[in-house]
Symmetry: C4
């Protein structure tokens, strides 16, 4: 049996990515984000990327299930080279999407959820005749949880409008990559992309920021669905107090 | 006191069926699937079938509460022979339904839930004038969690329509067996059957697959109920991107 | 300091009422039944009655918080005599209502919840012009979780109609007692009474039966609220298959 | 490294404020009150005030993350002096709001939530043409969980109307302070203030009372949102039984 670099996923530090990813996934399972092995999470530390595998029950994931690769060594996107591959598992189809957040935004963590609130938001937008490709909400305190954007300082303000682009789903998850990258180009300040009838990709500079933004987005999506049921609009023209 | 084959349910391996069934039931209780002792779960390992008992609080079940029988020794369905019977308990009325999934589909695990989302789906279908005997949904990513069908390779695709047949409830649960078996014949590729005003039977080749499909179905049922509240249709004609 | 019979609530047996009541209350808190110290639970073992105190946070209750009294020694309902009273606590106003279930129905356990689903059911009934004093539902599998009635054998069937009487709330909880007792007289087979704009009292011969019926009722109340939102009727005329 | 008074947050007593705040925040996270690092909690013990920091994931908070200050030493509200400041953290913007409850009401604990139910209540009130600045509900048992008011004995009764004032949100949380204090003046008996499109501030004489009132308010807000969906009014004219 060849050396599989198992030392890369063995650490007694609970902040090590190989320990953090299973801990995050356990939490996400209770939130309904990774039901039925859907969704996933990835952490980048310098040049090393740690990835949850495909198909494993997310609330039961263990450090030894984690894939590791070197970002700088990935030349051909069709032929990924892993520094460590768990036995009897398959890499996640989300890998190229996580990589896009790491490469294009220098993210430290990227989270993918199948949250029902995210899916419902994309369905509610789909039946609109205009602006069906972006979720917009403003004048809600939780919006302050989001950074102003890539390479910008500070956080969004209460009166700012949070915008999350929506891309159409594709039969093969890896085919989403080019649309995700286009959405990043079109919305340079976004930290998240909704995938129609599928879920959400959300990232942050650190694990804490990615998790904070993932929780806050899910909060806003659930709130927006409840607002729709109660005929309350997502956008309002409350002016800043002067 | 006669020998009751207690060794069959004693193992230090947490993957042993007698340990897995209580663990699954605890989880299902928190999901609202086995409220008030309703629902249940069964695992088959080769010729041995492990069954949760009737009436026990599902979140408090223990390995010593598990029934065991040999599939090959069951000649008369009216007179079941147990290899191990827990004292002071009764076998579950679901037993013949679990057996149907094991015999007709070679399943390794079968789960029965009383999920409110499953019940609501059957009620929403019941008031339709047509197609009231099958739940259909398509163009939702979570559909990919389902296998293509019995003895078929691969998983359903995003554009495929997931179909789950609905059978009518009967006063005695064991009387459902023939209707369940008919539904299996009519829908040879299904991994699940809804029971009107009652709940769901869902199975898989392995415990992991059965659980993944159970979670994914419940996700889709809840999503579909929310879609109904928001006047969003379950079926859409989004075409595959070519 | 006088002897306070602390031995009555000290036991290493997790099935002892002084251990079971805190365990049940922890569970009920997660279900939203005893929010903000509302609701409660009581267990009777032969002549001894064990009672949760007033005002204590239900998820943090401990065996030493439990009151104990002898049923046979309670002559004057206005002047209750406790065998054991925890220091610095007050007895629950629910005490006479729990006692009614023990005396009139020989119950072994009585549970009081402030479940929002129970409250909503009483509000939905209140605006009806007729039959506003009884909740009725039929043709739902979970109905089988209920016994046929006091001193009767067996369980309700799938086609039976479950009936739970509703009494009006009173400013002081102990004043509910006479109305609760009247409802027991008018509905001799019920195991539960709804209190308008307040919650539910539900009991059973044993702790397990009381808990099973409490969970099953809450399941049916939540289901019925969702049915109302979806314009699905609580009663249907599906006939028994003959 | 200078002395940072770390002894103020080190205690083996689980009732010590530095242990209680993280314990409360863990619980609040599971209730959806402090999603994405939003919300917070503070406890006052005599002259010492213990505060959760800004930005920390609330379910992962630890005693060493807690700020401590002396109430009597705070002369200039713009220049707060901390007895203990955790390294690498920032004090919460909620600090002056918590201080208002401590100073003006002699509260022992103040809780701030971003509960979606609280936010939805403020949105439902906002679209009204009158009485949009106060939430009112009556004839619900859970109202009894609230005290009659500051320096008053006893609790609200079942027929009393619970009133919670609503203030408008401001871009900077500390700017809410004057509006919160005005609302306290206008509603001298309230134990809580809603912040439009933001959340809730709720306090009590003790940690237990603050938590009980926070849970009970959230219960009433969720109930009121469900009532709105079902077209049930929040106020009714049921008269006291005489």
């Amino acid at each position: 049996m060849e050396d599989n670099n198992d030392h890369l996923v063995r650490s007694s530090d609970d902040q090590h990515p190989a320990n953090l990813i299973p801990e995050l996934c356990r939490k996400f399972w209770t939130l309904g984000w990774v039901t039925g092995t859907g969704g996933g999470a990835s952490i980048r530390k310098d040049d090393l990327v740690y990835l949850a595998p495909s198909g494993v029950q997310k609330e039961l994931m263990r450090p030894e299930n984690i894939y590791v690769l070197e970002m700088s060594k990935q030349i051909d996107p069709k032929k990924r080279i892993y520094l460590r591959s768990p036995q009897n598992l398959k890499p996640s189809q989300c890998t190229p999407l996580f990589m896009a957040a790491f490469k294009k935004r220098n993210a430290g963590c990227c989270i993918h959820t199948h949250s029902q609130w995210a899916v419902l938001i994309t369905l509610l937008l789909e039946r609109r005749t205009e602006n069906c490709k972006v979720f917009e909400i403003n004048n809600i305190e939780q919006i302050k949880a989001f950074g102003r954007g890539w390479q910008k300082q500070g956080a969004l303000g209460y009166h700012d409008t949070l915008r999350v682009p929506v891309i159409e789903n594709t039969p093969f998850e890896e085919d989403l990559t080019e649309y995700l990258e286009s959405a990043m180009d079109d919305f340079p300040d976004t930290y998240a992309v909704l995938v129609r009838r599928h879920g959400l990709y959300v990232w942050g500079e650190t694990v804490n920021k990615a998790k904070q933004q993932a929780e806050s987005l899910d909060y806003l999506f659930q709130l927006a669905v409840e607002m729709e049921k109660l005929n309350l609009p997502w956008l309002s023209d409350i002016c800043p107090v002067t």
